[in-house]
Structure formats: C-alpha cells, structure tokens
C-alpha cells in the first residue's frame, strides 16, 4: 500500500515520542519527589542548631516544601495519566486511519481485479491461468489467503476456488462447505455444482489458526449469474 509505510512510520514515531515522554515524566517525578523529601529531612535534623528567627523561617520553608510536593504529585499524576490516555487514543486513531486507507485502496483495486476476471471469462483461452496471474499481482498489494468466483451456466454452477498458499485439508473442506452453502442459499432451485481448486502460491499456510480467522465476503454482482467470494483470513505468520 502506498500510504501504509508512511502511516507505519508515523505510528512508530507517535508511540515512541509519547512513551519516551511518559518514561521521562515518571523518572522526573521520582527524582524530584525523593530530592525534596531528602532535603526536608536533612534540614529538619539540623533544626535545633538554628536560632528562633531561623526556625520560624525554616518552618515556613518546610510548609512550602510540603505544598510543593503535594502540588507536584498531583500535577505529575495528572500529566502521566494524560500521556497514557493520549498514547492509547493516538494508537487507536492511527490504527483506524490505517484500516481506512487499506479499505479505500482495496475498494479501488478490487474493482479492477474483479472487472478483469469477469470480463475475461469466456473470452480468454486458459482463463484459469489468467485469473491466477491477476490474483498473484493483487496478492502483492493485499495479502489475502483465498479467492473464489462462481458462474452460473445453463447446466449448473461452476465454482472456482483459488488458494493463495498450501492450505491444510481441513481449511479446504471448510472453504468448500462454506461456499456451497452460500451458493445454495442464493439459488431458488437446486443446481449441479462443479468445484475446481487451484493452489496459486507455494506459501506454507498449514499453521493457520482458525480461531484467528476473519473472512470478508464481497458479492460483486447481486444478479443470478456471478458470485464472488473473497476472503482475508487474518493470521499471524508462525515461524517454525
């Protein structure tokens, strides 16, 4: 994504600056509080050596000192809390901005990808290979894991499944089940379903955590001829 790296940099910068500020505030508070307490204790231990006038001055100073510690403690507590809140709010805001950028670009890119795929159907020889080349290009922009498109024909429905990596068998069965169910629910009468699978990339996705999976389904054409399902499974890459 062209804006993504800038936002990532901004995000890192913002988090770094705010947390450095927080750490600095915590250190400064600790230093000054301890220093003032220490000074007061040292002066108090020498109180009996002072004259009456000096003792009165000292008591006034000590009182001011205590007020300063109280005020400082209150002020630091407030500013530390404000930085913490700011850190959290900025983090959320930047993440939302990030997502909004992705959504906008994806919307534009998706339209082009799907237009290319749909318009080429029935016109291009080796259409399945052509689709794979388009999906590979799109995968460079957006790391989705799975793409599917279905066409209604006179004889039935052709369902094409494209896996953007080496999926475990359980994931493939899940995809087939989900999509068959999705199509059946959209049709007024039962049709013969022909399913064709393609593995587009060699990325190892055997460690997909289904509990972390999010799917995004986009029905491009609401009519009865074409259905497109388009999944982004949010997975954390597991290193093994």
């Amino acid at each position: 994504m062209k804006y993504q790296s800038n936002i990532d940099q901004f995000h890192t910068y913002l988090n770094s600056v705010l947390s450095e500020l927080l750490e600095s505030q915590i250190r400064t508070r600790s230093f000054f509080t301890e220093l003032l307490k220490y000074e007061e204790k040292t002066l108090a231990s020498n109180l009996e050596k002072l004259s009456g006038e000096q003792q009165r001055d000292w008591q006034a100073l000590s009182h001011s000192n205590s007020q300063l510690v109280k005020l400082g403690t209150f002020s630091w507590k407030r500013s530390i809390n404000q930085i913490k809140e700011l850190l959290s709010e900025c983090d959320q805001l930047v993440r939302q901005l990030h997502q909004a950028m992705i959504d906008r670009e994806l919307y534009e890119q998706q339209g082009m990808v799907l237009q290319g795929i749909i318009l080429s159907h029935e016109k291009i020889e080796n259409w399945e290979d052509f689709v794979q080349s388009i999906l590979k290009k799109f995968h460079n922009i957006f790391e989705f894991n799975f793409f599917s498109i279905a066409f209604e024909t006179q004889d039935g429905i052709d369902l094409y499944l494209y896996y953007m990596g080496a999926f475990p068998q359980a994931a493939k069965e899940l995809a087939r089940k989900e999509l068959s169910g999705h199509l059946s629910s959209r049709l007024s009468r039962t049709k013969v379903l022909t399913i064709k699978d393609y593995q587009v990339l060699d990325i190892d996705l055997n460690n997909i955590d289904f509990s972390q999976m999010n799917s995004v389904k986009v029905d491009v054409d609401g009519g009865s001829k074409i259905w497109v399902v388009y999944w982004k499974w949010v997975i954390f890459p597991v290193i093994h």
Partner: protein, 250 residues
C-alpha cells in the same frame, strides 16, 4: 532492530517475541522481550532496561492494550530487565513475579508499590493465565542466585533468561533462530563460562527441564534455539566447566 515475531499462535494463545532492542540502548548487547497472550490477557517476560520501554510498548500494542498485561515476570534482578519497570508499573496494573530473594533489593531501582510484587519460592511456582498454567521454573545460579525460567505448555517454549544468551552486536536478526550451533557457540562461550556459577547448577537445571517437552528455547539475549541447535546447546551445557569450576585452588 527487529519487528515483533509470533513464535506460536493457536486457539487464542500466542507466544510473541516482541522486540529485540537496539544494541545502542543496552551498551551493545541487544535484549529480547517476550509476551505470552491467552484469551486477550498477557504476561510480559523481562520487559527490558530504561529506554527500551517505548519500542516494546509499540510492539505490544499491536497485540493487546497495556491494561490487559496482567503479569510481568522478571527472570532475575539485572538492570537490563528491571531498569524500565517503573514505567511498566505506571502503564499497567500487572503483578510482578520475581524470585523472592530479590524483593528487598528492587526498591533500589526507585520502585514503589512493592505490594504488587509476588516473591517466588526457590522451588518455583505455577502462574495461571486464563486457560494456561505457566510454569515458573527455578534456574538458580544461572547466572543469578535467584533466576527463573518460564515454560509455556501450549507453545512448548521455554524462556530461559540468561541461559543460552549470546553476545551479538552485529546481527540483523532477520532469522531469529540459531542456524549453526558450533558457529554460534563462540558467541555464548565466554558469557557462560564467566557468568554461570558452576556445572553443578547447570546439571540441576538440566534435570528440571528434562521433564518438559520443549520445542523452542528463548533466551533474553540473541538468537533462539530449536531442533539441532537446541540439543546442541543442552549437550554443550551439560559438560561445560564454568564459574567456580574454573577457580584454581591448588
């Protein structure tokens, strides 16, 4: 230096290498910070020295909010582990787990609220995090007299603190695992001979961890170990003369 890397992720349970600090921040020795998450709540392992917190926090917030950090484990008392703790205690409500022998020394770091600390007995302890019970295992005298390891039975990752720690100032950490243990050994040899107290302590620790199924050994400094590198490390340690073994009393 490196972005966060997920070492394990399954059924809402994650073990993440959060950050490898810049060497400049810790006098040339980068340190690793780890986060274990189960059902949205996290335990931070060895949060790092002063100045490291901003980058660790940045990576941490990709996974959970700071207020969801419910525990911080300190493998031992060194400044590259405890130096930034005041800030973490301000950012989170986490309880702090450390060997009980260090409790009375930690206030010297300027730490308040010692009631948030939980002193771990010498024999170790269990630490519950939602669906998982982590094992706080004793690794005393390696090198610290009160050193703790953390074993996660779901990911089968053993966090070893300074055991297996390597001194790298020039690595890029694009691959976080040891590739060739005989080559890597030169980066750990001096540290282990000089800092670890004795082979007796190592053998005692090896006996303790032999009861656990371990896929990855994750130290606080340098590359992680798995497969041949892991078995190479453990075999090497088994016969290593170090610390008081090397004192000539003749």
């Amino acid at each position: 230096m490196t972005n966060d890397k997920v070492l394990y992720s399954k059924d809402n349970h994650l073990f993440v290498l959060l950050n490898i600090s810049e060497p400049g921040e810790e006098n040339g020795i980068p340190s690793n910070q780890y986060l274990i998450i189960n059902k949205g709540k996290g335990i931070l392992l060895d949060p790092g020295g002063f100045g490291v917190m901003p980058q660790v926090l940045h990576h941490l917030m990709k996974y959970i909010a700071p207020e969801d950090v419910v525990g911080i484990v300190l493998s031992h008392q060194d400044p590259d582990i405890v130096g930034g703790l005041s800030s973490w205690m301000e950012m989170t409500e986490a309880k702090i787990y450390v060997s009980k022998i260090w409790l009375r020394f930690l206030p010297h770091y300027g730490i308040k609220n010692m009631q948030r600390f939980i002193g771990i007995d010498d024999q170790g302890s269990d630490l519950e995090l939602n669906d998982v019970v982590l094992k706080l295992l004793p690794a005393h005298f390696l090198h610290s007299p009160g050193q703790l390891n953390v074993y996660d039975p779901l990911s089968k990752i053993l966090f070893t603190g300074d055991i297996g720690a390597a001194e790298y100032q020039d690595a890029d950490f694009s691959d976080i695992f040891v590739k060739d243990f005989p080559v890597h050994r030169s980066r750990i040899e001096y540290f282990h001979r000089r800092y670890m107290s004795s082979n007796r302590a190592i053998k005692y620790w090896l006996k303790i961890i032999s009861g656990f199924d371990i896929d990855i050994i994750a130290p606080q400094h340098g590359y992680l170990y798995k497969g041949e590198a892991q078995s190479g490390l453990l075999s090497w340690l088994d016969t290593l003369e170090c610390g008081s073994d090397l004192l000539d009393i003749k």
